[in-house]
Each structure stands twice: as C-alpha cells, then as structure tokens.
C-alpha cells in the first residue's frame, strides 16, 4: 500500500459518487432519503412506503391531488343504515397476474389487515363484520355508526386472495421480521404500475401496467427508485440530472436547487406533526439508569422536558426557518380551533426546578430513539434536543438509526422497545379522531387497535371517552368542541411534546411536471415528463 493509494482512498471517502446511467424518455428516476424495505402493504404504516406501493396497489377509495376522497376499486358506496356500509366494486379489474378482482379479495384483505403482524390494524376495527353480498358487492357491518370509516382507506390496499394463498402470505409480514416473505419481495396489485424488480436498499423498477383498468393522467413508462440517504449525494444527483425527482431536498440546499437551471423545489406546508413521546406505561424504563421506577410516569418530569426545549431555536437553526412550531399534535390546517392553543414558553430554569421537585435534582440518563432518514433533519433535531436536555441535567444517549431498524424497534410489532423517541404523524383520515385514537388513546386493551401508534402508552380514560364521543358526533361545531376538550386534557397531562410541522420540499427536474400533495405522498401516475 503506497502513499498514493491511501490518498486515493481518502479522496474517495470524500466524494462518493453515484453511478447511474443517463435517463431516457418517459423513464423517471426518483431518489428518496429512505429505503423501501418491504412490498407487503400491511408491514409498515408510513407515508413514504404507502406512496411507493400506491403505484402498484389500490384501495377501495383513493385521494386526489387535493386529498379529496374519490372512488378507486369501489365504484360507489352507500349507507342503507348508519351501521351498514355497502360498497359496489369495480368490474373488469384484474390483478397484475391476471386474477380477477372480486368481493372475496376485499373480505380477505379486511381479515389480513387486522391480523397479528399488520401495522395497519387501525384501518378497520376488529368488531366490524365484512360480508360478501355478491361477487361485486361487499357490506361492512359496524357495531356503532362511524362517519369517518373510509377516511383512511386510500392506503388500505386490496390484495389478491388466491395469490396470497398460493404463495403462503395469508399472514402479514411484521415490520420486525428478519426474513422477507414472498409478499415483501413481490407484489400483485391492481395499480397503474407493476414492480418489475425490487432489490431492497438498492433499486426498485416500476413499469407501466399495459392492462390497467383506468386512464392514467401521466406519461411515464417506467419509474426507477433508488434510496440515497446522503443529503449531498441526493442533491448532486438531482443537479447533475442523474435523477429527476428527490424527496426531501435538505433544507440547507433549497436555495441551491432553486438557483440551478434544470431543477426546482416544490415547497408547501406539510400536514405532518413531528413530536417527542415518553414511555409512560412500563414500571421501569427499558433504557435508563433509574431502576425500580419510571420517571416519565411523573407529569412534572414530562413538563420539565417540554419546557427545556427551545422550539424557536430549533426552527431558526436546525430547520432554517422552514418549520411551524406546534402546540398541538395535529397540523393547524386539519383542526379549525387550533388557533386557541399556544405552546407553553421555553423555560429552562422552571424545567430544572420541576425536575428537582420530582426528585431528580441531578437529572437522570435515558436513551432516545430517533430515525435518521425519515423526517426533515430528524437526527439533527434529536441532537439539538439532547443538548437542550443536557442543560437541565438529563443525559440522553441518542440512538439515531435508519427507519427500517428504528421502526422495527419502536413500533407495536417490535414490542414498543423505546423509552423516549421522536416520531412524525399525519392523520391518514385528515381528521383529529385519528390522532386522538391512534396516537393518544390508551393501549391497555390488547384486543382493540386503540393506541396502536401510542408508542409510550399515554393513557387517560376521560380522554378516551371524549374520543369515542368525537367519533359518533355529526354536528361539526359540537365535534370540534369535543376535540378541543380532548386536546386540552392531553396538554394538561403533558402527554407529548409536539415540536413542529415540517415543510414539504421536493426537488423536481424542470422536465417533470409533478403535482404535490400536502400529505407528502409522492405519486407519479399523474406526473408527466418532457423529452
């Protein structure tokens, strides 16, 4: 080994170049910071995964560019009585392997999505009966009325019963699974694209489906997806034309991309709320130096953590102004009364005092779980939080890892193995009930899907009672009032630390016309690309 070769290695380490062959017409190259780990549509309830799989799979309903619910595999639906929903299925639809789409597939998917191992169990309550009326009619029989039943069904993708049985994937693939199932490596949907090849962590190739039942607005014949986790490499790939679309554009590079002649940044407020949660359920934290008790069970400790975080500083320094600090666990666009809430003031001295009162004058140690390729500047936000908490004496061991490992650890299927974590959430129903039920609902009933994404197990029965009232209330004003009351309880309990809503930043080549949806699902079937 000579001097020259080790110098070469040093240069190589500094400029890791991405090798991609030049783009051809109507082939769109897309790079995301995170990977598409599993093709099984029930493995991970995560927007990026839903967006990828939304090209090949479809739900009974879909959402258009403005997030309005539109028919997809169901042509129409009606509610003959408040507890019975009838769906008329689209005829002549075929799965990619040629199997016809029928009511059996809907009944099968309804069972599968609620099975153990599914991360999508909240899509359909366990006590809902799904009844086949004839080959193209399905009834959903509910124990009590639910006006928002189908609000989150655009990403509940329908699977082929026959295909699943033949390939031994009747059970969903859990996110923590260490060996991939057939369904996590292959797809068989009804959507406008077919996955031609899938190499997890390397490349996924989507080809237009020649037998698609509908009309496709865009003109793409092929989509090539590559994960590029390094911010600088992703931006360089866009600027040099090696890829046509990147998500997200790192906020420090937005002006650089906008000033380039061949690409631009599509910006907009995102509906996602980034927040921090605590394990308030276990009697002893999994990852802490405090033994025999759980400091997060004490509301004063949670309040101290909340007040120790200077959200404005995170906004100006880490997010470079591109975030909206939030007092609520939901974006202001999705809740009419959000203006009546303000964030408690940043107060490190008060926080220190609260910790002392709670019996931790010298703080304590706890591990924080954080993804590093999921949200905008996620790991940098976590590091900033670690620094701010260090100033009130709390020592945080930061475990920042790619989302595949992160989700496999902290989600239900991984056993909620976390003491303190950062997560982002967009209610898939575009409504507060989803936040109150999925994120803030009690987790104590193992049979219920309530609190499925409540990783820390915050629980208040009064709060849950309000959530149930919210579900059945039809008067908008009364409903909003109930939601407001529920949020007030959540704040009084210091249940979570909402941080901010991040901004959408998609880097798009000027050759590509791509509508931007506020839920950050990058969908290409309505994208067009010029020669």
């Amino acid at each position: 080994m000579s001097v020259g070769r080790s110098l070469f290695a040093a240069t190589l380490a500094g400029t890791l170049a991405l090798a991609v062959s030049p783009a051809s017409s109507q082939t769109l190259r897309y790079a995301n910071q995170g990977d598409l780990k599993s093709l099984d549509p029930y493995t991970l309830n995560e927007s990026t995964t839903h967006a990828h799989l939304g090209h090949v799979y479809q739900g009974l309903t879909a959402r258009d560019k403005d997030l309005k619910i539109i028919p997809a595999l169901a042509e129409s639906w009606e509610t003959p009585e408040p507890t019975r929903w009838r769906f008329h299925l689209r005829k002549g639809v075929k799965f990619h392997n040629g199997d016809p789409f029928t009511a059996d597939d809907v009944v099968f998917s309804a069972d599968r999505v609620r099975k153990k191992g599914s991360n999508m169990q909240t899509r359909l309550a366990p006590d809902v009966k799904v009844v086949k009326v004839d080959d193209y009619t399905v009834d959903f029989v509910l124990p009590s009325p639910n006006p928002i039943l189908l609000n989150s069904w655009d990403v509940w993708y329908i699977m082929d019963k026959k295909w699943a049985e033949e390939n031994n994937v009747v059970d969903p693939t859990p996110v923590a699974a260490t060996t991939p199932s057939y369904a996590s490596l292959h797809e068989n949907g009804t959507g406008p694209f077919i996955i031609e090849s899938h190499q997890p962590g390397v490349k996924t190739v989507f080809k237009a489906n020649p037998n698609y039942w509908g009309k496709v607005e865009g003109n793409l014949k092929e989509i090539i997806f590559t994960p590029i986790s390094s911010d600088a490499t992703r931006v360089a790939a866009l600027l040099s034309g090696e890829v046509d679309v990147i998500e997200p554009v790192p906020i420090q590079d937005i002006s650089r991309v906008d000033s380039s002649p061949n690409a631009q940044v599509l910006k907009g407020p995102e509906l996602r709320t980034i927040f921090i949660g605590f394990d308030q359920m276990r009697d002893e934290l999994l990852y802490s130096n405090i033994k025999g008790k759980n400091p997060f069970k004490d509301a004063r400790v949670r309040e101290a953590f909340y007040k120790a975080i200077d959200i404005e500083l995170i906004k100006t320094r880490v997010m470079r102004g591109l975030s909206t600090p939030s007092a609520l666990m939901i974006a202001p666009e999705l809740f009419a009364l959000s203006k009546s809430f303000t964030r408690p003031k940043f107060d490190p001295d008060g926080a220190k005092k609260l910790l002392t009162e709670a019996g931790y004058p010298d703080g304590f140690e706890v591990t924080m779980d954080c993804p590093n390729d999921r949200y905008v500047n996620d790991a940098a936000i976590c590091q900033a939080v670690v620094g701010m908490l260090a100033r009130i004496g709390v020592k945080i061991n930061l475990l920042a890892q790619p989302k595949a490992q992160y989700f496999a650890k902290v989600l239900k299927q991984g056993g909620y193995q976390t003491s303190f974590y950062l997560l982002g959430w967009t209610p898939s129903t575009m409504d507060s009930h989803n936040v109150l039920y999925d994120i803030m609902g009690c987790r104590d009933d193992a049979k219920s899907s309530r609190g499925e994404a409540n990783l820390g197990g915050y629980c208040n029965k009064e709060f849950d009672a309000l959530t149930d009232k919210v579900l059945v209330e039809t008067d908008t004003e009364k409903r909003n009032q109930l939601i407001k009351e529920a949020y007030e309880i959540g704040i009084k309990d210091w249940s979570y630390i909402p941080l901010h809503q991040q901004a959408l930043a998609w880097g798009v080549s000027k050759k590509v016309n791509l509508p931007q949806r506020a839920d950050n699902l990058v969908m290409f079937h309505w994208a067009t690309k010029k020669e």
Partner: protein, 322 residues
C-alpha cells in the same frame, strides 16, 4: 539460566560487543542517520508528533468538549471561520449545525481516530504475529491451514471485511450497541481486516530464522517452543513488522474514517474525523464549506505524514538500499 546464555550469545552475534546506552546507540545507528538525511521525513515526523500531542491534550486545547451535548449551544451554529466576515471568537475554524466548534471537534475526533487506529494496529499485530509465528515455526498442516485462510482473506478488500465484521457485531449486539462499545467493534473489525500482512511477513522471517544455529541450540537445551518463538525468533523479525505497523496505522485510520463516513462507524454525537467529514459533506452545497474542509485536511495531513514515515522506515531498514 540456560536461557540467558543463549540470549547473550544471540545478541553478541548481531551487535557490537561494547556496551553503550540505548540512546547513543540509537543516535549513532544507520536508521537515525538516514532520518537526518531526509528533510521530508523530519517534517512528516514532526507533523505526526504534533497531531498525536494535539489529540492527547485535546481536553486542554479545545474551547469546548464536542462530545458533551450540554456544552453545545445551538445559537452558535453555522458560524464561519474566524478570519471571515461572520467569524466569531473563540470559534477559530467555525462551527457546525449543532454549534460544535470545528477546531475542538477535530482535536477530539483525531483522538478517536488515532486511538482506534493504534488499537486496531496492536490487535491486528498481535493476531497476525501470533499466527505467523505458529505457522512458520511448526510448518506442515498448521502452516497450510493458517496461510490458506490468509490467502482467502487477501482476496477481499480490507474495507469489505471491516464492513462484514461490523455488520455481524451490529446484528448480534443490536440495540445494546452504544458509542463506547462501537469503539471496540471498530477496533476488532479493523484488526481482523489487517492481520494477514503481519502473519505472512512473520512467517517468512521465521522460516528463515528457524534453521539458524541459535534456534537449534535453544531446541537442544530443551526450551519449550513458545519460549523459543517469543524470546529468540520474534526479536529478529521486528524490522519488517515495524514497517508494516506504521503503514497499517495509516490504513487503519483511513478504514475507520471510511466506516464512519459510510455511517456504520461512530455516531454523530461522538464524531471521529470520518463522521465529521460525513456530516460536513451535507453542507457543501449550502456554502458551509468549513464543516467538511478542515476535518478533511486534518485527516489527509495525518495520513500523508504517517505514510511518509512508513515509506522512509521501509527504505531505512532495507539492507539493499543502504
């Protein structure tokens, strides 16, 4: 007793008979002579020594401890170097996005890079020398097995082996892996990737040495094999080992930096030089060049100096070039 006699005779056969202090002998040696003749080597040695001193006294010289989150102020983030228009004291080389002083981070990062490098070299050396001695001394099947393993491993690039070991350690330890145990994993993965060089060199030297009379004498008086290998054969193979160790130190540091650059090394909260370069790389397009430039320069200067030292040592110890 008998052991001492053999050692003495051994020493007398290779060294001048008159006893002097080791310092005066060192200053008078061929190696030191060639060192004084080469200005480049002296500069390289000086730089290396300075870097080691900076790393050792990092806690005294740095304005903050970049590993202690309580000392980082977000308000001080992304300050450009002192001599630029927006520079601020005391941040000589500017700060990164977390308010980490780049100069302090380089000192602490250098400490980690050097520690991992040196420990990796010692680990690889111990492993390689041990296996090489055994292979060369016993020969036969033992030699065959060890050297074929070495040959197979030589067909893989070192960085691949390091990535493999790293991946296995991560999947075994999983989430119990914190920054400190990550250090050990790095040392082990680097050690396991570089032992072959030592083993082959030592084996070669041992094959030559073991047929010499002093080894036969030691065997005749009934010394056990481990003692002969360690006390008598090994000291005579030290020259080539020193050369390999120096060059491997540079390689080990590069490997650690590459692993950290690829994101499988040390975490962002405890950055080595490679981690600093990876973090800083993301801010190049934004014009915040100092976050990556200075750690990069420091790494390049360190590697270059150590490599120059290694090259010189190889030439100095090569009897054909004297």
């Amino acid at each position: 007793m008998s052991d001492a006699v053999v050692s003495n005779s051994d020493r007398q056969s290779t060294q001048p008979p008159h006893a002097r202090s080791w310092l005066s002998r060192a200053l008078d040696s061929d190696v030191f002579y060639s060192f004084r003749r080469s200005k480049l080597t002296m500069v390289a040695a000086a730089i290396t020594v300075v870097f080691f001193l900076l790393a050792i006294f990092a806690s005294v010289l740095a304005v903050q401890n970049p590993f202690d989150p309580a000392q980082l102020q977000l308000i001080n983030s992304r300050i450009s170097p002192l001599w630029t228009a927006d520079g601020q004291s005391p941040f000589l080389l500017g700060t990164d996005e977390q308010g980490r002083d780049v100069f302090s981070a380089i000192l602490y990062g250098m400490r980690i890079s050097l520690a991992v490098g040196v420990a990796g070299v010692i680990f690889a050396g111990a492993l390689g020398i041990g296996l090489g001695l055994v292979a060369g001394y016993f020969g036969g099947a033992v030699d065959g097995v060890i050297m074929r393993i070495a040959d197979v491993q030589l067909t893989f690039p070192a960085i691949l082996i390091a990535l493999l070991v790293n991946g296995i350690a991560k999947s075994i330890l999983g989430n119990r892996l914190d920054a400190t145990s990550m250090l050990f994993v790095l040392v082990i993965s680097i050690g396991l990737s570089f032992w072959v060089g030592y083993a082959r060199t030592v084996r070669g030297s041992v094959m030559v040495e073991k047929n010499k009379d002093y080894v036969a004498a030691a065997q005749l008086i009934g010394l056990p094999a481990p003692k002969i290998m360690l006390r008598h054969v090994l000291p005579n193979t030290m020259g080539p080992i020193l050369v390999i160790a120096t060059i491997n130190l540079a390689l080990a540091i590069i490997t650690e930096a590459t692993l950290s650059f690829l994101g499988v090394g040390l975490p962002d909260t405890m950055p080595s030089l490679g981690t600093l370069i990876r973090i800083g790389n993301n801010y190049l397009f934004a014009g915040e060049w100092w976050i990556v430039a200075f750690p990069g320069l420091a790494l390049a200067a360190l590697i270059l100096s150590i490599n120059l030292l290694g090259d010189w040592l190889r030439d100095a110890l090569n009897p054909k070039l004297r």
